[in-house]
Amino acid sequence: MEEQLKSLEQKALTDIEGAPDSKALEEIRINYLGKKGGLTAILKTMGKLSAEERPVMGALANAVRETLTAAIEQKGSLLKAEEMQKRLAAETIDVTLPGMRRPIGKKHPLTQIIDDVTDIFLGMGYNVAEGPEVELDYYNFEALNMPPGHPARDTQDTFYIDPQTVLRTQTSSVQIRVMENQKPPIRIISPGRVYRSDTVDATHSAVFHQIEGLVVDKGVSMGMLKGTLEVIAKRLFGEETKIRLRPHHFPYTEPSCEVDISCFRCGGKGCPLCKYEGWIEILGAGMVHPAVLERCGIDTTVYSGFAFGVGVERLAMFRYEIDDLRLLYENDVRFLSQF
């Protein structure tokens, strides 16, 4: 019997060593160690042994079982590793293929600018006010110190609905509506659509967008206007940006100014973008004219205010380097999908 066991062990070890895969190994295990396996068959003949031989053979049989189990386990993990290796190798994919995409839509560049500017002002405690686009002449002009026939109306070619109603030419109309309905302190911006009867070309549109700003409070100075505009310029065009206030005239602000920013492309040294001036005009602003405040019932001995208005299209054209304004309203998806 001892010989039988030895030879079984020998044969089994050879088989185990030669097992080509996990499945074959499992068959070998069953073949030798299973209920109907070789070892069991040998053990079944134990009864024929003498009482002295039986424990010796029992111990030997157990030793054989342990040896074989260990060998199977060892071989098993070896085979598993090999097989995993093979599987992984077989599963290699071309990771440079394009992905399967869910489509993503894009925000219109003008919305992008409006949202960005709005977020800056929300952070500074401004609310967002809105007003009608079909507007009374009163709010668009008269209340802003431009009575009928005022020469400054010439700079804003106006669409008329009837003699008292216009398509608003500027978001400044919202200033009046806010001041009529709200007591100072007032801190608002008003983004929105405005209209001028300009012939449409690469830099003019009959429809465009402005963002108006208005602050009315005790002790508001032009220095505060400058400080506010400086923050905006830096946030929109980078921390290095400087601003310059240039005197100008708007009937509803006094003093008035146009605001230039240092050219964000050349840093002010001069380049084609800034027409070699180093500065780019970006918005109009000023201290709210006392007549405008008084018309809205605000006491000018107590309160003062500043206002500013910026063209959204102009900002978009600078930021995205768009050279033709018409593209913004043509809505070609090849254009829109770039932003």
């Binding site: 609905i161 659509r193 002790g219 100075s221 400058k226 310059r244 100008h248 100014c257 998806v333």
Partner: protein
């Protein structure tokens, strides 16, 4: 306003570099648009003298000239001009050189004869006959007595054609700066230089009696002042070169001495002047009055124009001879045989002048100035100045005294001056002494805390006006940036937040945002196949549109959307998935009271439009459902659309929340798609932002996660083809009752296996109890109830 640099320097001595000057002036409030140099494009053109001239051997109209241009030898030049003689001084474009228009001249052969350059005409120098009136219209410019004749000299120096022209943008509040003196004052204030003004002298005989002319102002509200003088023995002739040069540099065409004088004075002082031929002023009477009903005038440009009683005219005893402040009448102008003239230096009401010019459709240099309200105080100095020039040019003699009708002189105003307030208001610290000096430099009288602005500064009325004057001259650059004081809470309104969210959801589903014009053509409503009396055709129309296609404020956002799809289709884009938050403008349903009563209702609609890239009805429907869910609306009812003319009648639906239509969706009617140039199937939806806001739930509350397992049952139902899925779902929901947690339709099948006129619809039901684990029996009972309810609407379980 084009300013001649030499003219400016007559008034204030200053040397400057052009670019720095432009910047300095822009910073102090007079914005410089451009700085140009006369003759800048001319290169290598010199004064030459024709030494000899012989006919071209091979041409019957050309000549071969030898021209002395200052070199060792005369050079040979071929010319086709017929007016050149030996001894003439001419402009010679040497080889190589550049003439006006940027053309390069090089030596070359003309019919076999070498030409080492070109003799130039006025046109080739960038000049006209107005600049050198003695020059014949055609041919080479033969230099006259008023030109430099140094051979070899640069032609620009010879002709003084080298002025620096600074073009200012003048805002409408500063008509005083539409003049050389006004700008010189700004320059003097900016650079702190002296302003040298020479008061024009009182003409000899100014207070003599005036027998030939009388002036009567009938409407002193519209004519503040009228000064006039008669000049006789007028000799109409070209002006001298210096005067022509000043006009040329200012962009004004020289005409003749009298007209040039009026223009010169206008440029110098900013005050328009007019010269009448006295022959055509009946009875020598000037009457400033309103036009009479039915009157008309033929203006200098030869057009007969009907007048209205609101308009102010200059009339003689019988008829209007000029539209006040706008334009003279046909015979009022100066002609070559004019011998006696009347100079008018008057001041008219700005608004009336403006309205009259607008009504007559002729804005002139004069009306553009008057409309900004001019200073009556400058009428007399201007008249004196004109008479001074007449004497200087020998153009005529003052005949009789000067008339000055000035019915109601304007009282001067004073403004309270408070230097400390100005410093606080502006946000800098400008010493009071400096503030006073600035205001004085600008022509103000400053006494104690009172400022009297000069009469020509009608724009200075309040302390803030003084603040601006001080700030701009002291320098906006000196304003100290300060943060706003105080705290404030900034936030978006619920609607503003919702708009952002809608955009996010739609972009997340692959739709790209478009922005379209808010006005369009009314024809769009035909393209939508709307009946002629449809309410959407009733809206707001622009009275002065750029064109019909941009004349109507949209009442419906769909055409804008379809135009976008059409434009993309035309651009051969394979797909376009678009959304827009577009405003529509509709007449108010009920007209209220108050100022805004007449304004239309402005509402934002969400529009979606798709074609290509696998778009279909179901996909768009999914987008809308996701949007509604994202906005917190889960309970809505879909019904086939009944009214839409622009959607496919079998593929359009309206969705309702609490009985209100929140979504309209469908395939675009093929005819409509074609009308908008879309050559394939496309889909559109309109969603009511207002209802999303009202019905949506932005603040959902937590519901406990289920504790007990769910039981899932699938149902395959056979029903008539026309039975809407909504009816089946409704029956299942009602039948299964509370235990039904969710219901999902996962298949629709039509075909031979279910029989003609039938369809099979498969649902997955998830059943769950909140209290206990459901038994199969409980679940089966619920399904059985659902089947029964289905049976009641003629649907049965597929066997």
């Amino acid at each position: 306003m084009k300013l001649s640099k030499r003219w400016l320097l007559d008034y204030t001595a200053l040397s400057f570099e052009d670019r720095a000057f432009a910047e300095d002036m822009s910073i102090s409030g007079s914005k410089v648009e451009t700085v140009e140099h006369e003759g800048a494009e001319l290169e290598n053109i010199v004064v030459g003298q024709v030494v000899s001239i012989v006919p071209h051997p091979d041409s019957d109209h050309m000549f071969v000239c030898m021209v002395n241009t200052g070199g060792a030898e005369a050079i040979q030049i071929v010319t086709g001009a017929q007016n050149v003689k030996q001894g003439d001084f001419v402009p010679v474009a040497l080889s190589p050189s550049k003439i006006a228009g940027g053309k390069t001249i090089k030596a070359g052969k003309l019919r076999g004869v070498l030409s080492n350059g070109m003799l130039c005409s006025l046109d080739e120098l960038g000049l006209t006959q107005n600049d050198f009136p003695y020059q014949t219209e055609d041919g080479i410019f033969i230099l006259g007595e008023d030109c430099g004749k140094t051979i070899g000299q640069d032609i620009r120096e010879s002709l003084n054609f080298n002025e620096t022209i600074i073009d200012f943008e003048i805002t409408s509040n500063r008509p005083d700066c539409l003049s050389v003196i006004g700008l010189a004052r700004e320059v003097a204030a900016t650079y702190e230089t002296e302003l040298n003004l020479a008061e024009p002298p009182l003409p000899l005989g100014a207070d003599a009696p005036q027998a030939k002319l009388s002036v009567e102002i009938q409407n002193p509200d519209l004519c503040y002042r009228y000064a006039g003088a008669v000049v006789c023995d007028v000799k109409i002739a070209p002006s001298p070169r210096w005067l022509r040069e000043r006009l040329r540099a200012s962009g004004v065409r020289p005409i003749n001495n009298i007209v040039d004088i009026t223009n010169f004075v206008m440029l110098e002082y900013g005050q328009p002047m007019h010269a009448f031929d006295l022959r055509y002023v009946d009875e020598g009477k000037i009457i400033v009055r309103n036009a009479r009903e039915g009157e008309s005038i033929t203006t200098l440009d030869g057009t007969k124009r009907p007048l209205e009683p609101s308009m102010l005219v200059i009339a003689d005893a019988n008829k209007p001879v000029a539209v006040a402040g706008v334009m003279g009448g046909e015979y009022s102008g100066i002609m070559d045989d004019t011998t006696t003239i009347v100079f008018e230096s008057a001041c008219f009401n700005g608004l009336r002048t403006r309205l009259t010019a607008q009504k007559l459709g002729m804005r002139t240099e004069a009306s553009g100035r008057y409309e900004k309200e001019l200073d009556p105080a400058s009428c007399l100095p201007c008249l004196y100045r004109a008479l001074e020039l007449v004497a200087q040019l020998g153009a005529g003699t003052l005949d009789g005294g000067i008339i000055d009708e000035f019915p109601t002189p304007k009282p001067s105003r004073t403004i309270h001056f408070d230097a400390a307030w100005i410093n606080r208001f502006i946000g800098f610290s400008c010493p009071e002494k400096t503030q006073r000096a600035i205001l004085e430099k600008l022509g103000c009288k400053v006494e104690g805390d009172t400022v009297t602005p000069p009469s020509f500064r009608g724009d200075l009325n309040e302390p803030c006006d003084l603040a601006e004057e001080v700030a701009r001259i002291y320098g906006y650059g000196k304003i100290e940036s300060t943060p706003l004081t105080g705290t404030a809470d900034g936030q978006l309104t619920a609607e503003q937040k919702l708009r952002r969210k809608v955009g996010e959801i739609l972009r997340g589903q692959g739709l790209t945002e478009a922005m379209t014009y808010s006005f369009h053509s009314k024809k769009n409503y035909d393209k939508l196949l709307l009946p002629a009396d449809h309410w959407l055709r009733n809206g707001v129309t622009i009275t002065n549109p750029l064109g019909e296609e941009t004349s109507f404020m949209r009442t419906c956002p769909v055409p804008s959307l379809l135009e976008v799809l059409g434009r993309n289709y035309a651009a051969r884009n394979k797909a376009a998935w678009i959304y827009e938050l577009s405003k529509v403008f509709r007449p108010k349903e009920t007209i209220g009271t108050g100022r805004d009563a007449q304004l239309p209702d402005e509402q934002i609609k969400i529009t979606l439009g798709l074609y290509g890239a696998g778009a279909d009805y179901n996909l768009l429907q999914g987008v809308c459902e996701t949007l509604l869910e994202g906005c917190g609306i889960n309970d809505y009812e879909k019904k086939p659309a009944t009214e839409s003319t622009f959607l496919h009648p079998g593929r359009a639906a309206e969705w309702f929340v609490d009985g209100e239509e929140i979504v309209m969706i469908g395939e675009v009617m093929p005819q409509v798609a074609e009308n908008f140039g879309i050559g394939e199937r496309c889909w559109a939806a309109v969603i009511q932002l207002k209802l999303l806001l009202e019905k949506g739930n932005p603040n959902p509350k937590y519901k406990h996660l289920p504790k007990y397992p769910a039981v899932t049952r699938d149902l395959a139902i056979v029903c008539g083809k026309a039975t809407p899925a909504a009816a089946l779902s409704k029956a299942i929901r009602e039948g299964a009752g509370k235990l039904l947690e969710s219901l999902e339709l996962f298949d629709v099948y039509e075909g031979a296996q279910v029989g003609a006129g039938k369809k099979s619809v498969a649902y997955s039901l998830v059943l769950r109890s909140k209290e206990t684990t459901l038994t199969d029996e409980q679940a089966d009972a619920a399904v059985k109830r659902a089947v029964k309810a289905l049976g009641a609407i003629g649907a049965e379980i597929r066997s």
